[in-house]
Symmetry: C2
Subunit: 380 residues, 2 copies
């Protein structure tokens, strides 16, 4: 449900009245609050308001971050998406997507789903210079939060050794969601000292061999992949490394029953297309096969043994915060997401930060393993 | 839709009138015809009439074959299903399920879905002595048709070197679907010379180590698994070998996009529980991992290359028939199932049999691969 003042705002912004009624009926628009800031988030899309869109009381609109299309055949994908146009290649960083925006006097970090994230919001000014928003209050910084101490992601990229960092990959306008051209973004980021994802330069399809080499190198370096963008940001496509496909499966296999089948099958598909495109065979092929098999089976079998020995399927992760109350707000935030989590440990790092250790339990995955291990007979 | 005479029969047999109306509305009961024999098959279940149930004009009812429950933890599964009861262990043969029944003067073979199979019906008296039905017209022989020349299954068990064979594993009463006790079945099969699935004898849970050894042997011998049954047939459970899980994945990977994700994920799950139960580690574990990875990737990558080179995803199989018209009836039968198939070759074996070679094309899987190979960008 949405309060009457927000209803008025949404109608004024152009959400059709009948569509709004439908969305409200099924919880497609939800009102939330964070430290006195009231906002509405779109769980479904509605006429230009993409899923994940956030609307604030003052009428500010931050559109949901669009889903970037994926290609699984790099050479032909590039040909089909970009034709003869040049395109910038940037690193696809393995973290979680945030949109950073200033609303009234607060710089806020929005998750993909349209929540104001208490953790990221507390930390965001460690990474982004507020001067940017003083000069450009109408722009949204979209980037990846990545590192080994993250509340949403189990691993980070290899080059973030501790804590977490912000990597800019898009700047959009409030309201329209329109992206700045690539070069403008590069310039602004440099001007304001905002860390960006690694940029590999301007390519075109005649340089496909260099792109293949880049993918090989990123895969060797345990990095996720690339996002390719025309300078005007009108055409965008992503491609991930075989390393990332296998590593995601390894991470997912630990909580096997908590993930949809498509999580695993999609990555197996991508890996198969990589092997086919590169015409790998013999020992090289078998190495990938073995890595895939181990990624699927090892963490899963470990979880089975864990549960067989009376334990639970769980993940432990840490974050660094300035205020312990932020950790408690994260617990509340996760509860809202239906995630069972609790604080395991709080450690004073002595530099103004606390390291909070959380444990996330997967009750459904645990129960499923326990039942099967205990010999349940089932029809499939 | 069902004709009025069948409606009357079904109502007389106790199908509730309102349920029948619902079933008819959604195609849950379908009337069919085979060589002048009219029948109704249940695509959904209704009050005691299991899915796959077939009703004939004379009122004969052959109940759908029940789905046998699976355990993935053999030791604890046995304990949970059988407690201290003894149970017979029989081979689970990798083929397709048929129910063989005499209706009026014809011996017919019904598929799991309740079709009269033209191929199996033509061949069934090669394997089953008609004398049985003269003495027991009220009984249904349920068994597995298995071998390298099968219309429904790509591979057969290793000990069927050519053609196909029938292996009895259950005898049920018409109408009630009640199974004969195990010993009675064994006796009748021997008496009438009907080939049975291999029987490994009466076990109980104190002999679990022998059962583990049996599973290891069957897996080494490339066999599918076991079905365990109390002598009164009241409790039944199945368990498959790691070989069969991996081999099924290998067969399925060839037509990757034509199968539901659960096909692959279910078998990965079973394999993981096998590895966990046997506490395999080190090299032994890695061998299974490699075999799994290769099973998932190799046939899939081969199919991608096949399509990339302008081909299609397809399977070729052969069957032996006495009459070429049976082959044509099979094509019609497959068309009814929505399967695209055509006859590739007809060869006179000179012994009263023809070998028919069919090619089955998978247009959806082919199209999906072609699109992805051609660089389609997609949101997932």
């Amino acid at each position: 449900m949405v309060s009457s003042s927000f209803r008025a705002t949404l109608l004024k912004l152009g959400v059709p009245e009948d569509r709004l009624a439908v969305l409200e009926g099924k919880g497609g628009v939800v009102e939330g609050e964070f430290e006195g800031i009231r906002y509405v988030r779109f769980r479904d899309s509605a006429k230009g308001f993409r899923r994940g869109t956030v609307v604030f009381e003052n009428g500010d609109v931050v559109l949901g971050f669009p889903h970037i299309k994926r290609v699984v055949q790099l050479g032909r994908g590039i040909k089909r998406v970009f034709k003869n146009r040049p395109f910038y290649v940037e690193e696809k960083v393995d973290g979680y997507n945030v949109r950073v925006v200033k609303v009234k006097d607060r710089v806020l970090a929005l998750t993909r789903g349209g929540f104001i994230c208490p953790f990221t919001t507390e930390r965001i000014l460690d990474f982004i210079n507020d001067e940017f928003f003083k000069d450009y209050p109408n722009l949204v910084l979209a980037g990846e939060m990545a590192g080994p101490e993250s509340p949403y992601i189990v691993e980070g990229p290899p080059y973030v050794k501790e804590d977490i960092e912000f990597f800019l990959f898009d700047i959009q306008e409030k309201g329209t969601g329109r992206s700045l051209p690539v070069e403008e973004r590069y310039k602004l980021a440099e001007e304001y000292g905002i860390e960006q994802v690694e940029r590999f330069g301007l390519f075109n399809r005649s340089r496909i061999d260099e792109l293949y080499d880049l993918i090989e190198r990123l895969s060797r370096e345990k990095r996720e992949g690339v996002v390719m963008k025309t300078p005007d940001m009108k055409r965008i496509a992503k491609y991930v490394t075989p390393y990332a496909n296998i590593n995601d499966i390894k991470i997912g296999s630990h909580i096997f029953f908590d993930l949809p089948h498509g999580y695993f099958m999609g990555r197996i598909k991508r890996l198969a297309f990589y092997l086919a495109e590169k015409h790998l065979r013999g020992e090289e092929f078998d190495e990938y096969a073995k890595a895939l098999g181990k990624a699927l089976l090892r963490p899963f079998v470990e979880s089975i043994h864990e549960v067989a020995n009376g334990g639970e399927v769980e993940e432990v992760f840490t974050v660094r915060v300035k205020s312990i109350s932020t950790a408690h707000k994260m617990v509340t935030h996760f509860e809202r997401l239906g995630v069972k989590i609790h604080i395991e440990d709080i450690e004073d790092l002595g530099n103004g930060y606390w390291r909070i250790t959380f444990k996330r339990v997967y009750p459904d995955a645990t129960r499923e393993i326990r039942e099967l291990w205990n010999g349940r007979a089932f029809v499939d």
